[in-house]
């Protein structure tokens, strides 16, 4: 680790994202307001107004256009960023496919917010997880520090493999909650994240190109394979970039799944994002009371870290998968993914899915304790009471 004096600021998750955008020397931001994302783009506008950055800011007329303009900017050769949430992300859906298909290393912050109706502006992961198959990588931040670090790493990973990255944070729990964030001096960020070297640009006027033309059945298949392969290759890049980030700045992200007490745990809690902060605190408490529990915080949902998951699954008797999301007609999305990844591997932990905190309902240490008691019973009896439990359901 290089010696440096971090800049400590008390900021919201959204402001952490905005600072990271400034420090990443983003060139174009095209965005549209939506609660609870808006304060990201407000803060960026403030930086521009104060002369702290030269970002070209395009105040578009919809999220669909936000993604389209970001795509145009990125294709031209600029480092481009946008941010959104819920309905806005859903509106972007078509263009998310476009960004990944055109292999543009765009970084976007999605503030997890529940989909309507009924209207809700609060935390829920279904918006981002519903974009699972768009070809974007997804990084889930547990706290404001990870929002800041995540945006910086996302640009480096994205620009290495030419695949866009969604950095996901929780509505209000992170987006509007103030916490200390250690920021990195600009010159050190510049060393970590040099100017973008694009795969192609639209500005070589002596050697013009066309991007995204029709591909017949003879060729389309191979372009899809290339994107699939880029996701596989990204796993190595993610680990390397996470390791480098740790070596430079002291916070290591070389694991795609952050693990706690896995080696001597009977069962672990698995989940995404801010709710894992609550879990970590509960795990400390539970262990002090003699529970043999651990946690597995999935940082990167795409590409899915199946290898790291298998390592965990081979060590524990049970996995309690906490999903602040739901795939209707099936089960929690992370649960579904994790089970699928383990099929045929030989690892056979008991797995139970707890649907928690949808639409921003509080998820507390007390809830984790209740889940721990239930899991303990299941493991001791060897009997799974039910596979999916709507944990907070009012009777």
């Amino acid at each position: 680790m290089v010696e440096y004096k971090p800049i400590r600021k008390v900021v919201s998750g959204n402001y952490a994202a905005a600072y990271a955008v400034k420090h990443a020397r983003v060139q174009v931001v095209a965005a549209y307001p939506i609660t609870p994302q808006t304060s990201i783009i407000e803060k960026i506008a403030e930086f521009i107004a104060n002369g702290e950055t030269d970002i070209q800011y395009v105040p578009v007329e919809s999220e669909h256009s936000a993604m389209a303009a970001t795509i145009g900017a990125s294709a031209t050769g600029a480092r481009a960023f946008t941010a959104t949430a819920a309905q806005g992300l859903a509106l972007m859906h078509e263009m998310l496919h476009w960004a990944s298909g055109a292999r543009l290393p765009i970084v976007m912050v999605d503030v997890n917010r529940a989909m309507a109706p009924p209207w809700s502006v609060w935390d829920d992961q279904t918006d981002s997880l519903a974009q699972r198959d768009t070809g974007w990588m997804q990084f889930y931040a547990e706290n404001n520090q990870e929002v800041y670090d995540g945006v910086l790493m996302a640009f480096k990973v994205a620009e290495t493999v030419n695949v866009p990255v969604m950095v996901v944070e929780s509505a209000f729990i992170l987006s509007h909650t103030y916490d200390v964030v250690e920021m990195i001096p600009q010159e050190l960020v510049d060393e970590f994240l040099p100017p973008r070297k694009p795969l192609y640009t639209l500005t070589d006027f002596d050697n013009p190109i066309s991007v995204g033309a029709l591909a017949t059945p003879a060729d389309y298949y191979e372009f899809r394979y290339k994107l699939a392969k880029a996701h596989e290759d990204a796993k190595k890049v993610i680990k390397e970039v996470g390791k480098e980030f740790g070596e430079r700045f002291g916070r290591d992200y070389s694991d795609m799944i952050e693990k706690g007490h896995v080696d001597d745990a009977d069962f672990v809690f698995m989940g995404l994002g801010s709710l894992m902060g609550t879990v970590k605190e509960a795990v400390d408490l539970l262990r002090s009371e003699g529970y043999k529990v651990g946690y597995a915080k999935v940082r990167w949902f795409r590409p899915f870290p199946r290898e790291e998951l298998l390592e965990i699954a081979e060590k524990v008797k049970g996995i309690a998968v906490l999903d602040r999301n739901f795939s209707f007609g099936q089960e929690g999305i992370l649960f579904n993914e994790a089970k699928g990844a383990l099929y045929g591997t030989g690892a056979r932990p008991i797995m139970k899915n707890y649907i928690v905190g949808l639409g921003g309902r509080d998820f507390t240490v007390r809830d984790v304790r209740a889940i721990a008691e239930n899991m303990k019973e299941i493991i001791e009896s060897g009997k799974l009471d039910r596979e999916v439990e709507w944990f907070h359901l009012k009777r």
Partner: protein, 105 residues
């Protein structure tokens, strides 16, 4: 039949075109459509009478392909490799120097 003014372009495309697939479906050779000889679509073919031509260029200007070029004397040259036989040139020709005839194939 005159030699296509695109001859050099066709050679360039054939030289530079490679099967290597670029991520993002990038087409790196500008003007590479010249490799497609769309003249095979033609049913009627423009027949040109140089004696009637007043070199107004309308046929050249209005050719959507473009498959009509102008030679050093400013007369039109019809590139039958690409001419689809739409007949705009004949319709617009003010002196009937171009007539459309069914092509014997």
């Amino acid at each position: 039949m005159a030699e296509s003014p695109f001859k050099a372009d066709i050679e360039r495309v054939e030289r530079e075109y490679s099967e290597k697939m670029t991520p993002g479906a990038i087409a790196r050779i500008p003007g590479s459509s010249v490799i497609n000889k769309t003249g095979s679509w033609r049913v009627f073919m423009p027949e040109f009478n140089r004696d009637k031509c007043v070199r107004c260029y309308l046929c050249y200007i209005y050719c959507p392909e473009p498959a009509i070029y102008l030679d050093e004397e400013n007369y039109p040259v019809f590139d039958y490799n690409y001419c689809k036989g739409c007949g705009i040139c004949a319709n617009e020709c003010p002196t009937n120097a171009i007539v459309m005839v069914r092509e014997a194939k």
